[in-house]
């Protein structure tokens, strides 16, 4: 029982070792909590760490195992959740001051499923406020740092989760992705992150940012881990009307399938443009070679409306967000401003104090885009262009089984580098956004390191409900280009 290296195990390895009683859940949990203690001052991946509760939970898991009870495939394994999933009895902040003291009266569906799988909840991860951001710099609780280079951002908005997984502070985590918020931080932190098809995972209890785009998904150190975790959280939920009633396949089985004959589309629009760093291009080309070496076939495709995706997203997402965030008015929960003379002042002051700049910006854009006289020109128009973007993908998937693209245009940038101008920050999501608009699934898998040792990820996209194909292709890349298991920083 090498506790010193327990944190380097994969999720599945850890699950097996606990199940086979090579290590107790409590020992494993303590090992990770110690690691968190050591690394948190540097990385700051968490908003809430559940030390006592996790140890107690782990103890219960051990007692159950002793009686031969196994709750599920992750029995006794410590994991983390982005602080966007409601956890009853545990404050859930969404990275915002306005919810800094919110204790949800219920569990999110994802929370329920994680607990039902037997996993132990270590903590709630840091995130960009209300999931709005690409660097985790907008969190009210301070930024998270990239474990690969503490002067750099981990990506966002699920930066805390990606950093925690990369730094082996948990065996895996669940994040959310609205415009790339799982895939981009996964790429920048050298881990695997997947956004499933819209409707694959229930949004019940997942604090809403942009309802027609948000999806929860796994972040883990290996493709198999991600596949296993998706299997745990996916499935129909009656409480989410957009949740689809389709059976959950065995994603794990897909990971080892051969890619011989797989048609890998290369959308030319993703490889043009000056923003793409040469190192990233090179690394993604290695990923392509990994696939073609194993029998996949490269195909040129085109997604002609790609250049309009960012504008489309930055109208639709803020519009939905402006409505979703209107409930934060100081009446029933969360922060309430003091000293207001009347109701309107109370609400206005509460929201001014409770929201950070990025959130306010997006609420303003969204409100504007929906307002009288502007709806057709902005929101209405964007919804139409969204249809064009979806059609692009439908057409591309006639010629290809998966699409291969970079996940992010560059490796991790420095803290503060892009906070001066919103548009500059938005451009980090240029490759990930179209997938959310179309509702299709996407995965980021590590495919190399930059010259300065920063992780680079390759993105794979597939048609609706073809997550298995993504796991197959990602697995093939991983086998050819095995990434380091954890970030080099030591605690």
């Amino acid at each position: 029982m090498a506790n010193g290296s327990a944190h380097t195990w994969t999720l599945l390895e850890a699950a097996r070792k606990v199940r086979e009683k090579e290590i107790s859940s409590q020992e494993l949990t303590r090992a990770l909590l110690d690691r968190i203690d050591a690394l948190e001052p540097k990385v700051h991946a968490h908003i809430t760490i559940l030390r006592e509760a996790a140890i107690a939970q782990a103890g219960e898991r051990d007692r159950e195992l002793a009686k031969g009870i196994e709750r599920g495939p992750l029995h006794g394994v410590p994991v983390g959740l982005k602080d966007i999933f409601c956890t009853r009895g545990v404050r859930t902040t969404c990275g915002s001051r306005i919810l800094h003291n919110f204790d949800p009266p219920y569990d999110a569906c994802v929370t329920e499923k994680i607990l039902a799988s037997g996993a132990v909840l270590l903590g709630k991860h840091n995130m960009d406020e209300f999931a709005m951001g690409s660097s985790t710099e907008t969190s009210f609780f301070g930024p998270t740092r990239n474990p690969w280079d503490l002067a750099r951002i981990p990506g966002g908005s699920s930066g805390g989760t990606a950093a925690a997984v990369a730094a082996a502070m948990c065996f895996a985590g669940v994040g959310t992705d609205t415009g790339g918020s799982i895939r981009q931080p996964a790429s920048l932190c050298g881990v695997v992150g997947m956004k499933p098809t819209y409707g694959r995972v229930s949004r019940y209890g997942m604090i809403a940012f942009a309802s027609s785009l948000d999806q929860a998904g796994p972040i883990a150190r290996t493709v198999s881990d991600a596949a296993a975790l998706l299997g745990v959280i996916a499935g129909h939920d009656r409480r989410d009307s957009t949740s689809l009633d389709l059976p959950v396949p065995d994603y794990l089985a897909a990971v080892r399938r051969p890619v011989r004959g797989l048609r890998v589309g290369l959308p030319k629009e993703y490889y043009e443009g000056g923003g793409l760093s040469p190192e990233v291009r090179e690394a993604v080309e290695k990923a392509l070679k990994a696939l073609t070496d194993q029998g996949a076939v490269a195909v040129d495709v085109s997604l002609p409306h790609t250049e309009y995706a960012l504008a489309t997203y930055y109208l639709i997402a803020p519009a939905e967000a402006s409505s979703n965030l209107a409930r934060y008015d100081g009446v029933r929960y969360g922060h309430r401003a003091e000293g207001a003379a009347g109701l309107i002042e109370m609400m206005s002051k509460t929201r001014a104090e409770g929201f950070g700049d990025e959130v306010k910006r997006r609420v303003m854009i969204g409100t504007y885009a929906l307002s009288a006289g502007y709806y057709e020109a902005y929101y209405g128009k964007a919804q139409k262009v969204r249809t064009l973007i979806r059609r692009d993908f439908t057409k591309a998937f006639e010629a290809a089984d998966v699409l291969l693209t970079p996940t992010a245009p560059t490796p991790a940038f420095r803290l503060g580098e892009k906070t001066g101008d919103p548009l500059t920050m938005y451009l980090s999501d240029i490759y990930t956004i179209p997938c959310n608009l179309a509702g299709i699934p996407g995965i980021s898998v590590p495919c190399g390191l930059s010259a300065t040792g920063l992780p680079i990820g390759a993105q794979l996209l597939s048609n609706h409900f073809r997550e298995e194909t993504l796991f197959t292709a990602a697995g093939a890349i991983e086998r050819a280009l095995p990434p380091p298991r954890t970030a080099p920083l030591e605690g």
């Binding site: 919110f102 219920y106 209107a326 409930r327 929960y333």
Partner: protein, 471 residues
């Protein structure tokens, strides 16, 4: 200058489902504050709506009963505004694509019927209640009770087809009756399950263009709607006559003062920023479901009134009174089926005993027997009333009580013969006076016969027998 009014009415009807429209909390009225709440209807972070099928059913049936076209595809939209009784800061409603369009209701107007168009029907959720803390305007705070949040509502918008307050009242009453007949709403304006706002404008008679429209709110009974309309039409006409203008605004009806008052609050043009709710998919209704529900539409008030009138030969007025409650009309018909010899009397009896009928304290047989006995002269009208009251207090059958109480009238002339003879024999002087021309003495004789028969003689028959004998 004569003016004509243009009136449109907007009704919000609370649907009598058991649970709320988007969550499974109870939709019942009158619970302690915030008792019927959950994370969904209180707008907690992360919650999502799930549509109540019964609410859709009720709305489809209402659409069918008002001849609307049910839309195969309709969309829920968010209506965004901030208020403490609106937890999500948006109301889930329907905007561009409502569930039903283009229907009508026929009302009695003047000598015939008038068709009032219905523009649209859509579904939405109700808001909670805000009460001011303390009694006086100095109160600094309000208290929010969210029990009512997400109770299902149907919004029914009429065409501006009404021209008088009476037509407005008739439309509302007819619409309410239809909803109650369908069992979709309990139609109680005072309790708030049936609410009405009005849009009123006036224009010089004969002019085609509409005048400026004023919205009226805060009318909590049919009568108050009529009064408010009456007042407002007069106010606007006078304003225009004096050379002034009508301001487009919202006014509140003040029932105490009997006038409408401007809301005065700077009504910042409400920009609700409607957009399709991404948490709910389009509402798809197939033909099969519509047809299945069409079969459940009962005979509606207008048809019932006409049929009762026709079939039973009763007055339209009485038919309308009976039809004002489906249970009462059904009772009437059941009673007439037992004894149909005098439907007019049956109708009168049902109307007279309406409260007991609706409280299910009387059976159709009781009324049928009462009517039949009166028809045959077996009991007098007075006795009949007394007997029904006894039925109510004792629960015994009408005829049992009639016999127990000895209230059977003797109506057979030959049976009365002996008594009449006896009375006449006992009053020879009066007989002579009568025959000499004092016709008024007839009532004296009737009285004596009644006394002699201990009230059992049918006075009408007594009179006839007396007249025959006295000549």
């Amino acid at each position: 200058m004569p003016f004509e009014a243009v009136i449109g009415l907007e009704v919000h009807a609370q649907l009598s489902t058991r649970s709320k429209i988007f969550c499974s909390c109870s939709a019942a009225f009158g619970a302690p504050p915030n008792e019927n709440t959950c994370p969904v209807c209180t707008g907690m972070p992360g919650v999502l709506p799930v549509l109540n099928r019964k609410a859709v059913e009720f709305t489809i049936r209402t659409a069918l009963a008002t001849s609307c076209t049910v839309q195969r595809r309709s969309v829920f939209a968010r209506k965004n505004y901030f208020y403490p009784d609106l937890p999500k800061a948006y109301q889930i409603s329907q905007y561009e694509l409502p569930i039903a369009l283009g229907g009508h209701i026929d009302i009695d107007a003047g000598n015939g019927t008038k068709r009032i168009g219905i523009t649209r029907i859509h579904m939405e959720e109700d808001a909670g209640k805000l009460v001011h803390e303390g009694e006086f305007s100095g109160a600094q705070a309000s208290l929010a009770d969210l029990n009512r949040c997400s109770v299902p509502l149907m919004e029914i918008v009429s065409e501006p087809d009404m021209t008088t307050p009476e037509e407005g009242g008739a439309y509302l009453r007819r619409l309410r009756d239809i909803l109650v007949y369908l069992g979709v709403c309990d139609g109680n304006m005072e309790e708030g399950s049936f609410r009405c706002d009005a849009n009123v404008s006036v224009r010089p008679s004969g002019v085609k263009e509409f005048g400026t429209k004023v919205e009226l709110k805060n009318m909590n009974s049919f009568r108050n709607v009529e009064k408010a309309l009456e007042y407002e039409i007069r106010r606007q006409s006078e304003a225009l006559e004096d050379g002034g203008q009508v301001v487009q605004e919202t006014r509140l009806w003040d029932a105490n003062e009997g006038r409408t008052v401007s809301m005065r609050r700077k009504e910042e043009a409400h920009d609700y920023r409607y957009f399709p709710d991404p948490d709910l998919l389009p509402l798809i209704i197939d033909e099969a479901w519509i047809e299945e529900l069409r079969k459940t539409i009962p005979e509606l008030p207008a048809e019932k009134i006409a049929r009762l009138e026709r079939q039973y030969g009763i007055s339209r007025y009485d038919a309308a009174l009976l039809a004002s409650d489906r249970a009462l009309a059904d009772f009437f018909e059941a009673s007439a089926a037992v004894f149909g010899g005098n439907p007019k009397t049956t109708a009168n009896e049902c109307i007279h005993w309406k409260d007991a009928v609706l409280a299910r304290k009387l059976s159709p047989e009781t009324i049928a027997h009462a009517v039949e006995d009166r028809e045959r002269g077996t009991v007098s009208a007075t006795a009949s009333k007394k007997l029904v009251e006894l039925v109510l207090s004792t629960g015994k059958p009408f005829r049992t009580l009639r016999d127990e109480q000895g209230l059977t009238q003797v109506s057979d002339a030959s049976a009365l013969d002996a008594v009449v003879e006896k009375v006449l024999a006992a009053s020879p002087k009066e007989v002579e006076s009568y025959r000499a021309g004092k016709a008024g003495l007839l009532s004296f004789f009737v009285g004596q016969v009644m006394k002699e028969s201990r009230g059992k003689a049918n006075p009408r028959v007594v009179q006839e027998v007396l007249k025959k004998k006295l000549g």
